[in-house]
């Protein structure tokens, strides 16, 4: 692998940047691998990387129906944080945030990580109670959450001029999560892809899995793709909103529903907001990108959806809510809008698990799962390699449904 450094940058500048090595290979597709991972998004690529790096597995293929990093990882609003609710969730996300902060060094790829704090704007007493409750649990696991007054909130976010005493929902105060940050989503996909490739992992783009193949004993035997059959004794489904589409072909029924989550960005403006602002009672959140755009997210569409655009109703509701707290944003021109389909589990916690089909693993239910990519990849690799769950994700297997022992989570910002 060609290392990236100031020196390599200078050297390549001398030759007009025409001699950079390719970041990953495009090898021919083999008929069989030890492990096949379906989906070259954040979770699939990170799982491949850690399987090769931490667990010594070499014969791995990642199959991607489009291009790597072109799924939800390209559509997300890059909020990285650990202010979740449950004892099971918080340590997992604390680990993931820490791994993200070290990822530039780990992968020798500039993640442009910007640790910048998330501030919740609280407008109802029920929310205030829920967040204070989260604070007590987060304290145990070393995640940060502190209440601040409305005055302090307005000092930290000068553009927050709405939500006064006469508003329908006056601001009651805020919560500050200093661990939160944003980074560059493409770098995460490309960094893991390049790192995995250097360790021998094969990434096959334009390779769509059409169905799972089971052997005579019922165990997984491989996958059928548009480029032919690929055999493997272990198959990992890492396809985000399409989990059930893929697992249905092996006759599995999973507690997952697919929904469309949306976002939009404004034209770039001068630095205005230096924290991630989350307004859960009004139903939107945003941060300002390094380029100056406001990156804004709202609630999902009502009901299940495999669409990837934003519905006019959802868009208008989100904009209306935003203008009630940030009236000056009325002058912002909005540039682009999009959606992505994500699956959410019955209890809103992720599922990283073996399945009833021996050798078949899933990583799913990633509603807000960008922040989970490093820890999700590491712990899933542990499960796939060792056959036993990693302690950080042991609560997130399918076993919990068998025992009706749900891990009901409310830390997923916009999920209802």
């Amino acid at each position: 692998m060609q290392r990236y450094s100031l020196f390599s940058l200078a050297r390549n500048a001398l030759s007009g940047h025409r001699n950079w090595a390719r970041a990953w290979r495009s090898p021919p597709l083999q008929p069989a691998y030890d492990v096949v991972i379906i989906g070259a998004g954040g979770h699939g690529l990170a799982t491949a990387y850690y399987l090769a790096k931490e667990f010594g597995q070499k014969n791995i293929a990642v199959l991607e129906r489009g291009w790597l990093g072109g799924g939800n990882i390209a559509r997300n609003t890059v909020t990285i944080r650990s202010n979740y609710m449950r004892d099971e969730s918080i340590p997992f996300y604390v680990k993931s945030v820490a791994m993200f902060e070290d990822l530039t060094r780990e992968l020798n790829f500039n993640m442009m990580h910007s640790k910048r704090t998330m501030v919740d704007v609280v407008q109802t007493y029920s929310r205030m109670r829920e967040l204070r409750r989260r604070q007590l649990t987060m304290d145990i696991y070393g995640s940060t959450y502190e209440p601040i007054s409305t005055e302090e909130l307005r000092r930290r976010i000068p553009a927050l001029t709405g939500g006064g005493p006469d508003a329908r929902l006056p601001i009651l105060g805020g919560m500050v999560h200093t661990d939160a940050g944003v980074n560059r989503h493409d770098a995460v996909a490309w960094g893991y892809a390049r790192g995995a490739d250097a360790l021998g992992v094969e990434i096959h783009q334009k390779t769509a899995v059409q169905s799972l193949i089971r052997g005579a004993d019922g165990a997984i035997a491989g996958v059928q793709t548009n480029r032919g059959k690929v055999r493997a004794a272990k198959v990992v489904v890492a396809v985000s909103g399409h989990t059930t589409t893929v697992t249905e072909t092996a006759g599995l029924k999973l507690p997952l529903r697919t929904m469309n989550l949306t976002a939009f960005v404004s034209e770039p403006v001068k630095p205005l907001v230096d924290v991630i602002v989350n307004c859960p009672d009004s139903g939107f959140y945003f941060s300002q990108s390094d380029k100056g755009e406001m990156v804004i997210g709202g609630a999902p569409d009502a009901g299940q959806s495999f669409r990837r655009d934003i519905k006019q109703t959802v868009f208008e509701d989100t904009v209306t809510a935003m203008l009630s707290l940030f009236p000056a944003f009325q002058k912002l021109k909005l540039m682009r809008q999009w959606g992505g389909h994500l699956d959410i589990a019955h209890d809103a916690s992720p599922i990283m698990s073996k399945t009833d089909v021996a050798g078949l693993f899933i990583t799913a239910g990633w509603w807000g799962g960008y922040k989970a990519i490093p820890a999700g990849g590491l712990t899933l690799a542990h499960l796939v390699a060792r056959g036993e769950p990693h302690p950080l994700m042991a609560a997130f297997t399918l076993e919990r449904f068998r025992h009706l022992d749900f891990v009901m989570e409310s830390g997923t910002t916009t999920a209802r």
Partner: protein, 84 residues
């Protein structure tokens, strides 16, 4: 924006409705079915790329509840398998 057919008010804008979730199978007697069937009833919703049956509530209209079939890939309201 969906145009939802209310049996009392006719076709009305989606913004007058609240989504009431998917229509579920009839609740079984937990003592009469296997544990697996009970867990499936509680946790599993059909998740097709295609028609799903769901409840909608005309909350900012006449207040009635209705069910419809909607295609998850297009959001079009479609004929369900039992519709004539």
């Amino acid at each position: 924006m969906l145009l939802i057919p209310c049996p009392f008010c006719g076709p009305r804008n989606e913004s007058e409705f609240a989504h009431g979730g998917p229509v579920r199978a009839r609740r079984p007697d937990p003592d009469a079915v296997s544990d697996a069937a009970w867990v499936e009833y509680l946790t599993v919703t059909p998740n097709p790329q295609g028609p799903v049956q769901e409840h909608w509530w005309h909350v900012r209209g006449c207040g009635t509840w209705l069910t419809l079939w909607r295609d998850t890939t297009s959001h079009d309201i479609v004929k369900g398998p039992d519709d004539a």
